[in-house]
Structure formats: C-alpha cells, structure tokens
Symmetry: C2
Subunit: 342 residues, 2 copies
C-alpha cells in the first residue's frame, strides 16, 4: 500500500501498472470469465500493490445499482426491533451489501415517509422497514417507487385480499405465539387466562392478543378484558397492581418480557407469589428473563430467521421476481418456573 498518494488510485492506475486496459481490471474485479489466468494474477498483484479499492459511487453511477440495502428502524431500543435490526444488518452485510439505516423517532406516517425518502435519495437497491405499527406500515406499501420493499414484522396479508400486494412481509406468527402461551397456561390447569397487552396498533401486540382470545374462545373459557400496556416495565407494573388485587386472577399472559417483569414486581409487592398463587407467561425471551424472580416462562422468536428471510425476499426481488413473497416464522415456548400446575 502506498503512503503518499495525492489521490486514491483508480482503475486506470491499476491498469497501467499491470500493463492492461482498465476494462480488463474491471473484468477481474467483477469475476468475469475470459481473462487469462496470468493476466488476472498480474492485475491482482497491481491491485494489492496500489492498495486500490473500487469506488462504489462510480460503480453505482454506472450501473444504476448501489448494492446498498436501506433499513428503516425505530429509534427505540425495544428488544424485538433492536434484535431484528442487528440480525438484518449482519445478514445483509454477509451477503455483500452495504446497509444504510434511517431511524424514526415515531411511527407517524410523515416521519416514516421521511426516513424512506432519505433512503430513496441514496438510491438504495431495496428497503426493509421495521415498522411494526398499523398505519405506518400501510403508508409504506403504496410508495410510488420501483424499489423493492419488505416489511419486517408487518401486516400479514392473512385475508388473501392482497389489495396492497406491493410489498412483501416477513414476520413472526404472533397469533401463534399468543396461542402457545395461552394454551400452556390452560394446560397447567388454569380456568382462564388474563392478559396484559401491548399497544394494539402494533401488529405484534394485536396478534398476541388475538391468539390469546382465540384459544380462550375455542376452549369455551371466559375472555377477561385485556389490560393495556405500552411495552414498558412501568406499564406492566401498573397492570400488575391492578390484576394482583383481584383474587380470582391466577394466570396472566403478558405481551412482552419487560412488562412481565413489571407484573412480577407488582405481584411481589402485593404478596402474591409466582407461580404458587399466580402463573405468568411473557413474550420475547429476552436474555434476562431466565433470571427474573422467578425465571420467566416465555415465548421465543427467531429473529435470525426473520432477518434471513427478509434479506432473501429482497434479493429475490432484485433478481427480478415480481410477486411479493410473504414469510412467516413460528415462535416457540420456553418453559421456566413462572407457571405451576393447578
């Protein structure tokens, strides 16, 4: 690597040093066939000697393809979105794509569209949106742009209406998760299950609530009114204070682990033991939940799989495939000690 270069070496510098044309260098770089082995080697050597790196901007300009994937992600550090983002970035990076992130502080349509615009300005090849909220995700779907778009953790086009067929979705089957948790509680002998829900404009929250209600209905149990939370431990604590004072409550499905922690806290303060007096099931399987008091039975989502799926869908779309492909990842139950048989 040279030390005192006035300006970064270009393809022409490499070509000159290797005694070939710039086009041959380009061919070597892009792994084209029809380059003699000896030439290829000479070019490689020159590249190394000069410390040459291809200029992505120039390539993007020439090809009209940036090989960059854009992500819209919430500013929050909620476990789900943060995990999804990390997994997506890693997967995309491993696939040889650059990843450009645009954070949104709120899910208001305007904010989300601004973020998408920023990405579009960069001519990203495709966009993944971690925007798990009703209105916003839908606002995305009809962006007037040919850029492939996948919604992560977004609206499953369950109803085969496929009206907004524009975008693909990869998501965890939240409903199934809710079912899993509720069924587990019922299996343990509880007559019904109470529920602390997440914000209902989140697909995750809505799905979990739906799954919970569906199982109760199928089994002919009473469906108690859900206690709304906002994902935070503090809101879980408030819900716990409420539910803990009701003697008939002996099984609670909480829509995420953070709120479950709050519930545990409130129950503890009220002197109601978990799991002896009340069984609790959470959702997310955050790494800490194994050490809540007591260790929390919860539902685990495979973010890795979601991310892989999302990148896969995007790449496929870039290859030309037009039909949007939805993918669903199934969550699993992680049993610990916050549930006891009745």
């Amino acid at each position: 690597m040279d030390v005192t270069t006035g300006r970064e070496p270009s393809m022409f510098d490499v070509a000159k040093l290797a005694g070939v044309s710039h086009q041959t260098v380009s061919r070597v770089l892009n792994g084209h066939t029809n380059v003699k082995e000896a030439t290829r080697l000479r070019v490689r050597t020159a590249i190394a000697e000069l410390g040459y790196r291809p200029n992505r901007a120039a390539r993007a300009l020439a090809t009209g393809q940036s090989r960059t994937l854009g992500v819209v992600a919430p500013r929050s550090t909620l476990y789900g979105p943060a995990s999804l983002l990390a997994a997506f970035e890693e997967t995309a990076g491993a696939a040889g794509f650059a990843v450009s992130v645009s954070r949104v502080r709120t899910f208001e349509t305007a904010a989300v569209q601004l973020a998408v615009t920023a990405l579009l300005d960069q001519r990203v090849s495709a966009i993944a949106a971690i925007v798990p909220v009703r209105g916003a995700a839908e606002a995305l779907a009809d962006l007037p742009s040919g850029t492939p778009l996948v919604t992560i953790d977004g609206p499953l086009s369950t109803a085969a209406t496929t009206a907004t067929a524009a975008a693909s979705t990869v998501a965890v089957d939240q409903r199934q998760g809710g079912r899993l948790a509720t069924r587990h509680l019922l299996d343990a002998g509880h007559s019904t299950v109470w529920h602390v829900s997440g914000p209902q404009d989140w697909f995750d929250a809505a799905g979990r609530t739906e799954g919970w209600a569906a199982v109760l209905r199928e089994e002919g149990r009473t469906v108690p009114p859900p206690v709304p939370g906002d994902w935070t431990a503090a809101s879980g604590y408030r819900a716990g204070q409420l539910l803990g004072r009701m003697p008939e409550v002996d099984a609670i499905f909480v829509a995420n682990d953070a709120m479950a922690l709050g519930v545990l806290h409130a129950l503890h303060e009220l002197g109601r033991r978990v799991p002896e007096d009340v069984s609790v099931v959470g959702f997310d399987d955050v790494p800490e939940s194994a050490h809540y008091i007591p260790p929390l039975t919860t539902v685990r989502q495979d973010f890795e799989a979601v991310a892989t799926g999302a990148v896969g869908v995007l790449l496929e779309q870039l290859e030309g495939s037009d039909r949007p492909a939805d993918q669903v990842v199934t969550p699993t139950l992680v049993e610990r000690s916050s549930v006891a048989r009745r």
Copy 2:
C-alpha cells in the same frame, strides 16, 4: 410526480422543464447565492413536478464526498452498544448524513478491520467505531487512511502519552461511574464493597473496576478480589451464588444491570434479602432496572450526549480540524431501593 417514467428524471430534465441550464438547477439544489428568486422558484416547481431527487452517487463521484458516516457496531444487543448505536444513527441522520452500518460478530482485529474496510470501500466520509474492547480499538487507530475516525466508548488517552493520537475518542467516564457506585455504598455505612466485574478487556469494565478499587483504597478499605462476569445475567447469577454464600458480603457493586439481575436472583434463592442483608448497585440504568426486585440503584450513562459528541467530533474533523478531540461524559447515580443504610 410522474407515473410512467422510463428512467428517473435527471438534473437535465429539470433544467429543460424550467428553461434553464443544469448548472442553475445544481445551484438551487445546493443553496448557492446568486440565483434570481424567480428562477429559483421555477426550478423548485420543476423539481416538484418531476419528482426529481438528486443522485447521491453522482454527487459523491463528482465531489469525492459521500456525506455518509460509517459505524462499526457489535452484533450483540447489549444495552450500552445498542443505545449508543441508535443515538448515533439518529444524530447523524438529523445532521443530514446517511449512515452505513457494519456489524462485527467478534472484536478480533481481523473482524473489525474487515468491517472498517467494508466502510472504506463505500468511501464513507468518516467512521465511528463502537468497539469498546482493548485490542480492537487500538488496531483501528493506525489504519492507513485519511478518513476521520472516532472511537465511541474507547480508550481515553488518560496518560497524555498521545502516542496513538490518530483517532479521537468520545466516552463515558467509567471510572467516575465506578467511584460513584462505590462511594454511595460506603456512604451507606458498608465497611467495604465487593465487585462483580465485566470482561476486563472492555474499557467500560476496566474503568468501572478501577474506579471501585480506587475509592476503596482511598478510604483505606480492604479491596476484595473482584468476581469476573461476562455482562450476562447468567454470569451475574453465578457470581451471586458465590458471594451470597459468604456471610461477610453485604455490599456488591455489579458492573452492569443485567449481571445485577442475576445477582439479585441468586441472592433471592439463597434467602439473603436485598437491601436488608446485602446492598446492590448496578450500572447502565436499563429501563427495566426500576422494576427489578428490589428496584435497583444504578449508574446512568447519557448515551445521547456521547452520540452527539461523536457526531460533533466527526463533523469538526471533516471541516478540516486535524487535532483529535477527546470528549468525556459524566455518569450519574440513580438511587432506588437496593441499598440500605447500615
């Protein structure tokens, strides 16, 4: 906005529609002076009508400036790094920069350099590295590149040796945090403070441990051997099992909240009450720590400030300032109920 464009509108399309030259369009776009108000308006209208967006790749090619900031961040979802990353991305975005992320799965030199290379290939204008580990951060410092680099949460050049003056650092004063926690425990009347540490190759961990030891030494207390952890609740649990069995242990400073949760868990299992029997202080102030059992006294870091500082340092460097600027953010103590007076 047109619907059926064969190809995206370029500056020339705008120019034609507005009846000016492409250069005038460029001037309007870049806010140059010396454009008649009427002309500016005409151009703006044409831009809107065509739905034109400037092509960043072309601009980057022409100027040699991508106006993109690169970030190297760990794949993990540890609270500190994740918060830092989110804050940095938002701040950078607000400053009008695109943000490109490169995740590393480990902090081995090779992995980190690969990530940086990926960023350099994109010709990012500057790089922020969230690589809070000894070896790796140092490996970065002497990268042979004119690209401005700031290490977030990296090595403070405390000793004014300034040998590796190449890179700037913005970080939380971890030592001060360790002091705060330890002093608080001492003030509560404990004769000494035990310590569950993070991995000592992390600057954060090392700094917290140093601060803890320094206060004990200053006050002439015995300095017990630290129990090493790895940031996870599970490792905290193991440490807690150890310390909880020692009757003389009645005050523990744990290097992060996740491990503190594990300690709390172990202590609970061993029947040692917090804070009645043992006082515990954590570090991070994760949102959940307010609902640990009991609510955890901990040390809060202002990630927002760190991120703002990092972006600031980078921009300054881009403006030409050569001298690397280090910045330190001071943490604060958050009192809750895991500490009791003796």
